[in-house]
């Protein structure tokens, strides 16, 4: 069990790519932390530096309070699970899990003890004598996890371990890994490019882009209070709607003007815009599709923040429907309760929940008010 601390960590690869920029983070003991971001943003590089597979260019890396920059990977007390792992097809489950320990010349009795303990935790004790070839996908995945568990590490590092699985198994294994974390009570750093995975698994999430940390937050706060348009757009499906608009002050109220529509902002948000000097300036409004409503109740409640548009595409998802429209040249999506009487080409009226509106600076793309 251990904390992991990053202090001003940089990674520059020979040839000039700076993969990680001024990375600062404290991962608490026993925490399940997720690193998420698009491909190439530096997640794997960050994880591989913790493992010692990549050298830290500058900065300090501490595991359990100890500076590890110059400590060999095998002496760091960590275990890794990756996407492209291989199991040894001609060995039993037991031998697969014992293999790494055997290579490190661990005494036989100790190997036996650790493998049985890991198998018990993973609920695969009954499979120990089976051949790998006879296992299902989920069982194989557990053996791969078992291989890491038998090392009894202080920190688990997982780099997209579920990416090669089909959707159903992936969802199942997410839950398994969370349960495993609770049983093992060990620090886990988990890397994924999939925001859904990040949101369902992490107790805290680090969003990265181009080698920089964008935001570190709990899933809910990340969703509700993104710091910039990147995070706002990256987290959540469908993607948050972004519309260019103009801030206008009419009497004492602040409105966002989108073509012929105006959206009245609640007091707190209005104050931020006014204080920031955004009156009569262009900004970007962001609103998630589930906060765009077509029901009478909302149309009644939010009289001062409504828009109208023509349905271009209708996507029926069962429990909900997605209505695709164009709003002042921007794609705009509403997530509504399924109804039978909507057709492509219809003009529909929507109320935007003004409390759920985000406003971003058009140049810096940073949030002005959430």
């Amino acid at each position: 069990m251990a904390s992991v601390v990053f202090k001003n960590i940089y990674k520059r690869y020979p040839g000039g790519v700076t993969a990680v920029n001024d990375f600062n983070l404290e991962v608490a003991d026993k925490e399940f932390l997720v690193l998420v971001g698009p491909s190439g943003c530096g997640k794997s590089t960050t994880l591989r530096m913790v493992a010692g597979l990549e050298e830290v260019t500058s900065g300090e890396l501490l595991i359990d309070g100890k500076l590890v920059n110059d400590i060999a990977p095998k002496d760091r007390d960590i275990a890794m699970v990756f996407q492209n792992y291989a199991l040894y097809p001609h060995m039993s489950v037991f031998e697969n899990m014992a293999f790494g320990l055997k290579l490190r010349k661990t005494p036989k009795g100790e190997i036996k003890k650790r493998v049985h303990e890991a198998a018990r935790i993973l609920e695969i004790e009954h499979l120990l004598d089976r051949s790998i070839k006879a296992l299902s996908g989920g069982q194989k995945q557990r053996v791969a996890l078992g291989r890491a568990i038998v090392r009894e590490p202080k920190v688990f590092l997982m780099d997209e371990p579920l990416s090669n699985l089909d959707a159903k198994l992936r969802a199942q294994m997410r839950t398994e890994i969370i349960k495993l974390h609770q049983k093992l009570q060990t620090t886990v750093i988990y890397v994924t490019h999939d925001q859904v995975e990040a949101m369902t698994m992490g107790s805290r999430i680090v969003v990265m882009k181009d080698g920089y940390i964008q935001q570190v937050e709990t899933p809910q706060r990340l969703y509700e209070r993104p710091v910039n348009m990147f995070v706002a757009g990256f987290i959540g499906t469908p993607q948050m709607n972004f519309v260019n608009c103009r801030v206008e002050k009419i009497n004492d109220d602040i409105f966002l003007r989108i073509g012929r529509w105006t959206i009245k902002l609640p007091e707190v948000k209005a104050k931020r815009l006014e204080e920031g000097g955004y009156i009569d300036k262009e900004v970007v409004m962001g609103i998630r599709s589930e906060h765009v409503h077509d029901e009478a109740m909302y149309l009644e409640a939010y009289k001062d923040s409504q828009i109208e548009s023509t349905v271009e595409v209708l996507e029926l998802l069962g429990a909900e429907s997605l209505v695709y429209m164009m709003l002042e040249g921007h794609m705009f999506i509403a997530k509504i309760k399924p109804r039978h009487n909507i057709y492509v080409g219809d003009t529909m009226r929507f109320a935007l929940d003004p409390n759920k509106i985000h406003v971003f600076d058009k140049d810096t793309e940073n949030v002005i008010t959430n």
């Binding site: 040839g15 698009p38 990977p73 890794m80 990756f82 290579l103 260019n244 794609m331 058009k362």
Partner: protein, 376 residues
């Protein structure tokens, strides 16, 4: 029997000295050796499951009138057996002695085989003779391919034995029938495959090779680069496959291709650009993008934007989403690029030029970074 003549002579002598018939079976149940004119029952012996199963701590077992001994050598396990006669301890000692003598001879043979493949891979067919080829060659009815493994963790190379890497490679490739693991030096390994199945074997080798990097990292905590050479027809041509694997790795690192495994036969256009004279590359960049643009401090960001746009089939909405920027920002940047370079990324021919220029820039960044400094 699978053993070579040398080993057989050695084992025959051991049988004479211990004055008892005995046999050797490998991990995959192949009969490596049995001595004398042993009867049928003796030849058809199989290793008892209790002994095979590593969970058991003992390496000796007597069963149905036979004594069995499991011997874990440096990179493989063998089983020796004979008719039980003396007390347990004596039988055990005799088998252990026989195992040591076998292992010793096998190591000598192994290093001869390793040397043969090393020469064949690096120095080519002229460096080996016909009798070595017959003796050590592996069969590949449908060709041969070489997989290179390059260990990049320095602390590992200086502190560990190569045997753990060969053991691990054996484990990973155990589903394949015909291959040789060659130790080139403490940093470089090659696996030579003979392809004998008509279907998919080459593809399977590639697929399995993509697991080597992650498996080495999680089991041995080492970082490695893996690359696969071209398919060649004859064993005497494996040096070509080896060189192609080297090229694939070098080019893969330059172009930042999929890092798990660099496959020569699947490199695409990068294969063409890799190896172009630096002079031509610089000239092409100046011609296409212009020195003014290359000097601009926003050049990198603009190029990345245009690249994403091209890779998303010139679709504005999708590119904006992939870049996580607003579509207006994207349109603005594309416009700026157009003004600076006079290249319209929405036109096919100009888009193609930009695409090639992007690859060449990446190539120069690694190969000759100084050439890209257009300032001053």
């Amino acid at each position: 029997m699978n053993s070579s003549k040398d080993i057989r002579i050695q084992l025959d002598r051991i049988a004479q000295i211990i004055n008892r018939d005995f046999g050797v079976i490998d991990e995959r149940e192949n009969k490596i050796y049995y001595s004398g004119e042993s009867n049928n029952a003796f030849n058809t012996i199989t290793v008892p499951e209790e002994l095979k199963n590593d969970i058991e701590d003992s390496d000796f077992l007597q069963k149905d009138g036979y004594s069995f001994f499991r011997y874990a050598g440096s990179d493989s396990t063998v089983y020796l057996y004979m008719k039980s006669r003396d007390n347990t301890e004596n039988d055990r000692r005799l088998l252990e002695l026989a195992a040591l003598a076998y292992e010793n001879k096998e190591q000598i043979q192994k290093s001869a085989v390793n040397h043969f493949y090393q020469s064949l891979l690096i120095d080519g067919p002229k460096s080996v003779n016909q009798s070595e080829l017959t003796q050590y060659g592996i069969k590949g009815e449908h060709g041969y391919v070489v997989v290179n493994i390059y260990i990049s963790s320095e602390d590992y190379i200086s502190n560990s034995e190569s045997s753990s890497i060969t053991v691990l490679l054996k484990g990973i490739f155990s589903q394949f029938q015909t291959y040789k693991i060659v130790i080139l030096n403490s940093q470089k390994y090659a696996v030579v495959f003979g392809i004998n199945e008509e279907k998919d074997e080459y593809e399977q080798i590639i697929e399995t090779s993509t697991t080597i990097r992650d498996t080495l990292a999680s089991e041995l905590m080492v970082d490695a680069y893996v690359s696969v050479g071209s398919l060649v027809a004859r064993l005497t041509e494996i040096s070509i496959s080896y060189k192609d694997a080297e090229t694939a790795r070098e080019a893969g690192l330059v172009f930042g291709l999929d890092k798990e495994c660099y496959v020569y036969d699947k490199m695409g256009i990068e294969k063409l650009i890799y190896g172009l004279p630096i002079r031509n590359c610089v000239s092409f960049l100046k011609e296409t993008l212009g020195v003014e643009f290359l000097k601009d401090k926003n050049a990198k960001e603009l190029l990345y934007t245009v690249k994403t746009f091209l890779y998303n089939n010139q679709n504005v909405s999708e590119s904006a989403r992939a870049l996580y920027i607003h579509r207006n920002t994207l349109v603005y940047r594309l416009d700026k690029f157009n003004k600076l370079t006079n290249l319209d990324s929405t036109k096919f021919e100009e888009g193609m030029k930009i695409g090639i220029a992007l690859m060449i820039m990446k190539y120069l960044e690694k190969k000759a970074p100084g050439e890209l400094e257009f300032e001053r």
